[in-house]
């Protein structure tokens, strides 16, 4: 069992957990992910590593409550245990001194972009950063991102905080100016990554994305996560999760993310009904 040692609510639907997993924390690197399972009935949920602490032996995870499993995860707190915690999986980000780099984090993607930005900064890069979310409430880690960036642009889709823009707008401004970065990293919802890649493509700026496809084992065994990159089938879990965004077949990825929509809806309904029942009976006592 793997104990939750800290919890922070970054937004009403965005939660941060620290998990006690010393062996994983010892090995984890920016760009990698873990797979967690809440309990004996749980599914295997892939989550990108948001941070690691080799001295305390903790892994930081940030997740957004979307479906049944992430909502259930959100009900847990400090001291609770996870049934499984596997990692570090996937290939780490290739960190070196590229000169000037640009990192883009959208929504919950701000979490995994942070350790990448930090590692790039530590490697001597000039780090330009853009973070964005739908609204102010969903934005987090502005301070942390500022601490590892030479320059940080913050935006919200609705303008409720900082600049009113999609992340692709400042992205385009930066790459079309004379401070063109050597490489861009963009992490966030698939649709955001798709448009970031589309934005940089005409400028020929290499753009790395971290794909969030459906997985089961996360070790190359099942092929649930397969995507097409440069016309070839690749497994996100072992060949990725990072790929060249200009080579990714985004429509295939977006289509495959929808495979279980019906079942997910049903599972969520059952879960919400159960939660409601629990609350009612608890209040009745």
């Amino acid at each position: 069992m793997y104990r939750i040692t800290a919890r922070e609510d970054l937004a009403p639907v965005t939660k941060l957990f620290k998990i006690e997993a010393p062996d994983v924390a010892r090995k984890a690197k920016a760009g990698q992910f873990v797979i967690v399972r809440i309990d004996e009935h749980g599914e295997r949920i892939p989550l990108t590593v948001a941070d690691y602490d080799r001295t305390t032996g903790e892994i930081t995870l940030v997740f957004q409550e979307v479906g049944k499993s992430t909502k259930q995860l959100g009900t847990l707190g400090v001291g609770d245990q996870l049934a499984s915690f596997v990692g570090p999986l996937g290939r780490p980000t290739e960190i070196e001194n590229y000169g000037t780099v640009l990192v883009v984090g959208g929504g919950v993607g701000i979490a995994p972009i942070y350790p990448i930005a930090r590692a790039l900064k530590e490697a001597g890069n000039t780090v330009l950063a853009i973070i964005g979310a739908r609204n102010q409430e969903l934005l987090f880690w502005e301070d942390k991102m500022r601490s590892v960036s030479d320059e940080l642009i913050v935006c919200t889709d609705d303008g409720s905080y900082a600049r009113k823009a999609l992340v692709t707008e400042p992205l385009k401004e930066i790459i079309s100016a004379d401070r063109k970065p050597s490489i861009v990293w963009a992490i966030g919802p698939a649709i955001m990554m798709k448009f970031c890649a589309a934005t940089t493509q005409p400028f020929g700026v290499k753009t790395i994305v971290s794909l969030n496809s459906i997985m089961v084992d996360g070790t190359g065994m099942c092929g649930a996560c397969r995507v097409e990159v440069g016309g070839k089938t690749r497994f996100v879990c072992v060949d990725g999760p990072e790929f060249d965004g200009h080579q990714v077949d985004w429509n295939l990825l977006l289509g495959r993310q929808r495979i279980y929509l019906e079942q997910e809806k049903r599972a969520l309904e059952v879960f919400v009904a159960q939660q409601h029942q629990c609350k009612c009976s608890a209040e009745g006592k």
Binding site: V216, C222, G255
Partner: protein
């Protein structure tokens, strides 16, 4: 010589009923029938059946004990060589092993050794498995990578010899293919759990959720003080055909389809969280045991029709005859001499059909089986809303991370001595599918057993050279 009684059939669930539930199909012998079957054994002075068994189970001995009513004696004789008898009694291809060598089989039907093995093992489980005596620790530590058939066997044998064994398993449950691949209706997971518990009761430590190659490399395990390492990570990577449309929604690898169904219990969704796509018209590509398991799972998940597509004929199908028969009985349809050339989708990206091409048999290929030769112009469509690719598997390269000195073949299998299991890297042994490519549970167990013996011999007196051609 007394008249030879016919071989006793084992009762099975009715094909109609069982096609809609995940309960075990084969129901096991009653004590009376087991006794009657045991009476058929000739108790040969030179038993040939043992030669047919990859782990050399003392077959006549356990059958004799059973016949004499000494059930614990039967258990002891059986488990002396086989740490996992309740599993082997269910999934071994006895017809090509012990039973093929049974003298009785020359004129009549062979003794149903597998069914008797299952009977004895199940009897023990019913009584409560006894914890065996294990010798005092000899101070040496062995790391076993993978809690599948070869790893569990190797670990069990080494523990019985006094080694401190740790098994590292990447999944959240032990058993390997026994738990993620072979379905509940063929091998109940409670049986696997009991057999694993037995191996643990020998003092073996089990570390789940531990992906070697990621969490630790094998060299880090040596640095941590292990004296030897056994690799039993199997052949877990699914193969695809690389035909157009293979990544459409509705195309599964058999590994994914079976893992969702078995390990993750998707057939109990939403009680269990893992979902699975349900097909009304399911096509399974391939005719091995994994294909049969996939087809029969699809049926139990509620498919209206399940069609198996295979490029050769029934005679070449790699599945056990018994599994083909089970599938046929349950109403699964077979299309031999056909091979997919494309998976066709709707405009929304979901499978709607597969395009098949007729084949004819040609000259034998490298496998010795006749090569399927496509017949041009014979393409046709078969409606399908779910396609399962059961084309075989390759070893997962993850365990080789940062270990370039572990030599591998061009098929991705690790090079190892057939008898001892020694790899080209000192103090690393390997066995099972990681060496042979996808094969059987019992052959993996045999390899685990032989490696355990060689690990013991080597650690007692490390003679050089390590590797001899």
């Amino acid at each position: 010589m007394a008249k030879v009684q016919p071989r006793n059939e084992m009762p099975r669930q009715d094909p109609q009923a069982r096609g809609r539930n995940f309960n075990e199909v084969a129901l096991g012998y009653s004590p009376e029938v087991a006794l009657a079957e045991a009476q058929r054994c000739l108790q040969c002075k030179k038993p040939t059946c043992i030669e047919g068994c990859p782990v050399q189970v003392r077959i006549p001995e356990f059958i004799l004990a059973l016949r004499e009513g000494d059930m614990w004696g039967a258990v002891t004789a059986l488990k002396d060589k086989n740490n996992l008898p309740a599993i082997c009694g269910r999934v071994c291809p006895q017809e090509t092993q012990c039973e093929e060598h049974c003298v009785l089989g020359k004129k009549f039907e062979p003794v149903a050794i597998g069914r008797l093995e299952r009977f004895v093992a199940d009897w023990e489980i019913g009584q409560g498995v006894r914890t065996p005596e294990v010798p005092a620790p000899n101070g040496k530590r062995v790391a076993v990578i993978g809690a599948g058939p070869s790893g569990l066997t190797c670990a069990g044998d080494l523990a019985k010899l006094g080694y401190k064994v740790t098994i590292f398993e990447s999944l959240h449950a032990p058993g390997g293919v026994l738990i993620y691949g072979i379905p509940e209706f063929r091998l109940p997971k409670s049986i696997v759990a009991t057999e694993v518990k037995y191996v643990q009761s020998l003092g073996v430590e089990l570390k789940l959720n531990s992906v070697i190659g990621k969490l630790f490399t094998v060299d880090e395990l040596f640095a941590d003080g292990y004296d030897a390492i056994f690799l039993g990570t199997g052949a877990g990577l699914p193969m695809f055909m690389n035909i157009p449309g293979e990544n459409l929604n509705g195309v599964y690898s058999a590994n994914e389809f079976l893992t969702r169904t078995n390990l993750m219990k998707a057939y109990l969704f939403p009680e269990y969280d893992t979902p699975i796509m349900l097909g009304k018209h399911v096509a399974v590509v391939g005719a091995g045991n994994v294909a049969m398991d996939s087809a029969r799972c699809a049926l139990r998940l509620g498919a209206e029709e399940v069609q198996v597509v295979y490029r050769r004929t029934k005679a070449e199908a790699p599945a056990r005859a018994e599994e083909l028969a089970n599938a046929e009985e349950e109403g699964i349809q077979f299309h031999y001499l056909t091979s997919p050339v494309e998976v066709l989708g709707t405009d929304k990206g979901w499978v709607r059909a597969i395009k098949l091409q007729k084949q004819q048999l040609g000259e034998p290929d490298a496998s010795g089986r006749p090569r399927p030769v496509p017949i041009p112009g014979s393409e046709y469509e078969m409606a399908a809303d779910l396609v399962v690719m059961a084309l075989g598997t390759r070893p997962n390269p993850m365990v080789f991370t940062d270990t370039p000195d572990l030599e591998r073949s061009k098929h991705g299998t690790v090079v190892a001595n057939e008898v001892t299991g020694r790899t080209k890297k000192q103090r690393i042994w390997a066995g099972g599918d990681i060496v042979t490519g996808a094969a059987t549970v019992i052959s993996a167990m045999g390899a685990g057993k032989r490696s355990a013996a060689d690990i013991d011999a080597y650690l007692k007196s490390p003679a050089e050279p390590w590797w001899a051609e």
